[in-house]
């Protein structure tokens, strides 16, 4: 499994923190999205913000967002973004 890129995790934490009203310091790779005070709307908005920032399309469906969109932890999300991101020559 791919490792979590710290820069991506940091961006994910900051976007999710803003969306959930929590300080980013308390959020890490193991934080479960379902444990955060995020309603489906806030999660969709956060995912959209991350898509725009990294120019990727995260595979989630708006109608599933209430169930976490199939993404368990912030680390999973960061790994997914890292894998989707077009990084030429990346050996990670």
């Amino acid at each position: 499994m791919a490792t979590v890129e710290p820069a991506i995790l940091s961006a994910v934490a900051s976007v999710i923190a803003a969306a959930s009203g929590r300080p980013a310091e308390g959020l890490g790779a193991d934080t479960l999205i379902e444990d955060l005070p995020l309603d489906s709307m806030a999660l969709v908005e956060a995912l959209f913000t991350l898509e725009e920032r990294f120019d990727v399309t995260i595979p989630f469906q708006v109608a599933d967002a209430g169930q976490g969109g199939g993404i368990a932890t912030l680390g999973d999300l960061a790994r997914q973004i890292g894998a989707l991101r077009p990084v030429p020559g990346s050996a990670v």
Partner: protein, 413 residues
């Protein structure tokens, strides 16, 4: 069969937000028209419209509703809240619904999303694009806001949409299919793409909307929403609600004649069917809240239909010239001369004007028309009256496609 009462109305119009602003606008008699300033307005051939002034969405809605609703839904939500507050219906009964007519749906959202992907080359649009632009969004937002679990959807018949919604909702209340309905129209088409489309039809006035006038040259495009609370008259009286008007009759008809050319026979058929449904003779109609778009063809057909229906002996004698029909039949008011043409919301504005005529005798003058055209033999309101004795008002709408809907509104005995 229940008699159908209107117990609340709410309006967001080019006169401002609220029924009071609408009433003041009709009384003032000054047509709304301003130069549009949104992105690309300099490329419009007719860069004028009648937008809702000072609509502060952020003052009305939380962040969630703001992000998930188009301007047309926001208009409907504000109008719906005013209507329910006026009705005094503390909680909508189980099975209440909402039917909101709209010609364009969430066109502001469509326009912005198209601009993003076509013009700016963006790869993706907001996840809320479809929930905002869908035609049923306004009805859905009203359902969410007020816990409406009954029949809730959009109807679309271009510029008659609001009347189709009101007629359908009235029929549901009348039959007992729903205990209370919110109904009306909402549109927000003052966007670059929206106006470009209407420019193509050559129906936008380069100056002012002068319905039934000799120099009429089209309408001023507007936006807004009007929403009404409909419930059984017996239920309204039982809970001590103020009844604004009764919907005594409705008709939904189609010309089956032409996609864009109006039909006098079709217009007359819609009005005649609404009167028949109400069990009211044409002679008992005091006032018509006309469709009156100020296009040459619509007003000609509408006036001919009114004359045929209400002054049937007009053609039997010799041609008496200018006065033929201008002094007989019911009064006709044409409020698009003031608020412009808000597409699917226009019928709701015209129903609201009808209600103000029934409740306080307000019949506004037709702005910019000192006397009707020779080819429009109708008794057009040319000076503003207050305190007129109006008991029965017919409010018809005639849309492109030949799709018509008409309401008979009365002061309940």
């Amino acid at each position: 069969m229940e008699r159908v009462a209107i117990t609340g109305m709410g309006l967001v119009s080019p006169f401002g937000t609220g029924v009071a602003a609408f009433r003041a606008g009709l009384l003032t008699g000054r047509p709304v028209r301003e130069r549009l300033t949104f992105q690309g307005a300099d490329r419009l051939l007719v860069p004028y419209g009648a937008p809702v002034p000072d609509f502060d969405a952020e003052a009305h809605f939380d962040a969630e509703t703001l992000a998930r609703s188009d301007r047309f839904s926001q208009f409907a939500l504000v109008a719906g809240a005013e209507a329910l507050a006026m009705a005094g219906a503390r909680a909508a009964p189980h099975g209440a619904g909402a039917i909101i007519g709209t010609a364009g749906g969430g066109l502001s959202t469509t326009d912005a999303a198209f601009r993003a992907v076509y013009d700016e080359g963006r790869a993706r649009v907001s996840p809320w694009t479809v929930p905002r632009l869908m035609a049923g969004a306004a009805a859905a937002q009203l359902s969410l806001a007020h816990g409406l679990t009954g029949p809730s959807f959009a109807v679309s018949s271009a510029c008659a949409s609001g009347n189709h919604a009101l007629a359908l909702a009235a029929q549901m209340v009348r039959s007992g299919a729903a205990p209370l309905m919110l109904a009306g129209g909402a549109d927000a088409m003052l966007t670059f793409g929206g106006i470009k489309a209407w420019e193509g039809l050559r129906v936008l006035s380069p100056d002012f909307c002068r319905p039934f006038g000799p120099d009429r040259n089209g309408f001023v495009m507007a936006e807004g929403a009007g929403v009404f609370v409909l419930e059984p008259l017996s239920a309204a009286r039982a809970r001590g609600a103020t009844v604004l008007a009764e919907i005594a009759g409705t008709a939904l008809t189609a010309d089956a004649h032409d996609l864009t050319a109006p039909s006098a026979a079709g217009a007359a058929a819609a009005m005649r069917a609404a009167l028949r449904d109400a069990g009211i003779e044409p002679g008992a109609v005091d006032l018509i809240s006309a469709h009156g778009t100020a296009t040459r063809a619509n007003d000609l057909a509408e006036a001919e239909a009114i004359a045929a229906l209400f002054v049937p002996d007009r053609d039997s004698g010799h041609d008496s010239g200018h006065d033929s029909g201008h002094d007989s039949g019911p009064r006709v008011m044409a409020t698009k001369s003031l608020h412009g043409h808000a597409m699917g919301a226009s019928p709701a504005f015209e129903a609201a004007a009808a209600i103000l005529a029934l409740t306080e005798g307000l019949v506004p003058a037709t702005a910019g028309v000192p006397a009707p055209a020779l080819d429009c033999p109708i008794r057009l309101a040319t000076r503003t009256e207050t305190g007129a004795d109006i008991r029965t008002c017919l409010s018809p709408s005639f849309a492109f496609g030949g799709l018509s809907a008409a309401l008979v509104l009365t002061r309940p005995a």
